[in-house]
């Protein structure tokens, strides 16, 4: 069963979470009962047969072995080569799951949520390398973090140390009531976004586009805007469910969206859209790349380093969605936009040609909105059909 896709799922979840809420309001520890809920919900999600249960089990064992092995190794030594090999092994299942469909063979490596779970595991390895995780982690801690069911299928991607702080916390009744209120509120926002607004846009507008628009150009133009809005409401709705349920479980999962359509520029947009993913790439790919280039003094030119960083980041983000032409083009498009904006921003800092003020802010928002919507149009795959 796909999480948050049917009312049956919500009913089951509501019943299962009732004791969590009662325990929480009484100020009792949530951990033990939550483990039970997690096992039951994972069984419901992965028992359908198409979700890749066995791949998930093998994947989890592999990641636990890699993480625990690397922490033990890192306590004694710190070779870059070992770090790169372990990281590569950790993302190997993800790479396989993207390549196998192209080879037209059975995609045995894939399971629901693999793209998101990989990032949770790799992140622990990177933080161990940086010396932020020093003590050995228990199998329970690792599995509990990696298989946290509210966010298993499509994120948000949490960070281990942040997750752990919440997980170990014993919320007072007042604190828990606040979490519960916020959680339920988010779930209702999710219903509004995903099942009312997103559903309506898709069913009543996008599905009827052939009758609404006459010309081919108008059709594609309207599709571009409506698909962009649909994508936002559908994904933001899902995220509201995932974060809302996390809150009820006593875990404050990070948010994914912060009013993305009022971004003033493309850089601003990536601080507002699918934030847990873009911040992951920022912290673990872009910044590490820039740091390496600066420290080793391989490339001196600032502009070149940052633009190469953007190209690396967005191409990776594109392929991460899948090895299909629309995702690669989408990644390349955003790389180009970011590099272009980077050059413009630096130039404008010196010459101050772009006027400031309220009107110009509106103009910037409108331009950014169109740039972003065209990106989603590419992402949708419609231009490549």
């Amino acid at each position: 069963m796909t999480p948050y896709s049917s009312f049956l799922f919500f009913i089951i979840l509501g019943i299962l979470l009732l004791p969590t809420m009662i325990l929480g309001v009484m100020g009792k520890r949530l951990r033990y009962y939550n483990v039970f809920v997690t096992i039951v919900v994972l069984a419901i999600i992965f028992s359908g047969g198409n979700e890749g249960f066995f791949s998930l089990v093998v994947f989890t064992i592999l990641q636990v072995v890699l993480v625990k092995g690397y922490i033990t190794y890192r306590q004694a030594k710190n070779s870059s080569l070992v770090f790169y090999i372990i990281s590569f092994l950790s993302i190997m299942p993800l790479i396989l799951s993207k390549i196998l469909p192209i080879l037209a063979v059975d995609n045995w490596a894939s399971f629901l949520g693999i793209s998101y779970l990989t990032f949770r595991a790799v992140q622990i390895i990177i933080e161990t390398r940086d010396g932020l995780i020093k003590e050995q982690l228990s199998i329970f801690q690792l599995v509990n973090f990696m298989l946290f069911y509210p966010t298993i299928s499509s994120g948000p991607i949490d960070r281990f140390r942040r997750f752990q702080k919440d997980e170990e916390k014993r919320w007072t009744p007042e604190e828990y009531k606040d979490l519960l209120y916020k959680g339920i509120n988010k779930i209702f926002i999710g219903f509004l976004y995903k099942f009312i607004i997103g559903y309506s846009i898709n069913t009543y507008f996008i599905a009827n586009l052939d009758y609404i628009a006459d010309g081919k150009f108008t059709n594609n133009l309207l599709y571009m805007y409506s698909y962009s809005l649909y994508l936002f409401f559908d994904f933001a709705g899902y995220t509201a469910f995932a974060v809302g349920v996390s809150y009820i479980m006593g875990i404050r999962s990070p948010e994914n969206f912060n009013k993305p359509f009022i971004s003033r520029n493309i850089k601003d947009f990536w601080n507002r859209w699918h934030m847990s993913l873009s911040f992951w790439f920022r912290d673990y790919v872009f910044m590490r790349f820039v740091f390496l280039m600066k420290k080793k003094k391989w490339i001196q030119n600032k502009m070149l380093v940052s633009n190469l960083g953007y190209i690396l980041l967005f191409l990776l983000m594109g392929v991460w969605h899948g090895l299909a032409i629309q995702y690669i083009v989408y990644g390349a498009y955003h790389a180009l936009m970011m590099a272009g904006f980077n050059i413009f921003e630096t130039w404008n800092k010196k010459h101050k040609r772009w006027p400031t003020g309220r009107v110009m802010t509106v103009v910037s928002i409108v331009i950014t909105f169109h740039v972003v919507c065209f990106g989603f149009y590419l992402f949708s795959g419609k231009p490549f059909q």
Partner: protein, 78 residues
């Protein structure tokens, strides 16, 4: 020059703005003085000028957001 002044000097150089030397509680991310690229530069400068190694993953925008906060964090890592 004491430690705090040195740190403020480094931040001012990276932000290309001396305002951080005056307003110690200014949120440098919200003020648009620094982005992820400049953040890396800041970390490299801390290592080169102050000999303090700050891992990228340690640099959390919520707790390293003002000149005062940065000085505090660096004092903890010293």
């Amino acid at each position: 020059m004491d430690f705090k002044e040195k740190v403020l000097q480094v931040i001012a150089e990276v932000c290309e703005d001396d305002v951080v030397k005056e307003e110690h509680d200014l949120d440098i991310f919200e003020a648009g003085l620094i982005d992820s690229f400049a953040t890396v530069e800041l970390l490299v400068q801390f290592e080169e000028q102050l000999d303090i190694n700050v891992p990228i993953t340690e640099f959390d925008r919520d707790t390293w957001n003002t000149p005062n906060a940065i000085v505090d964090r660096l004092n903890e890592l010293k």
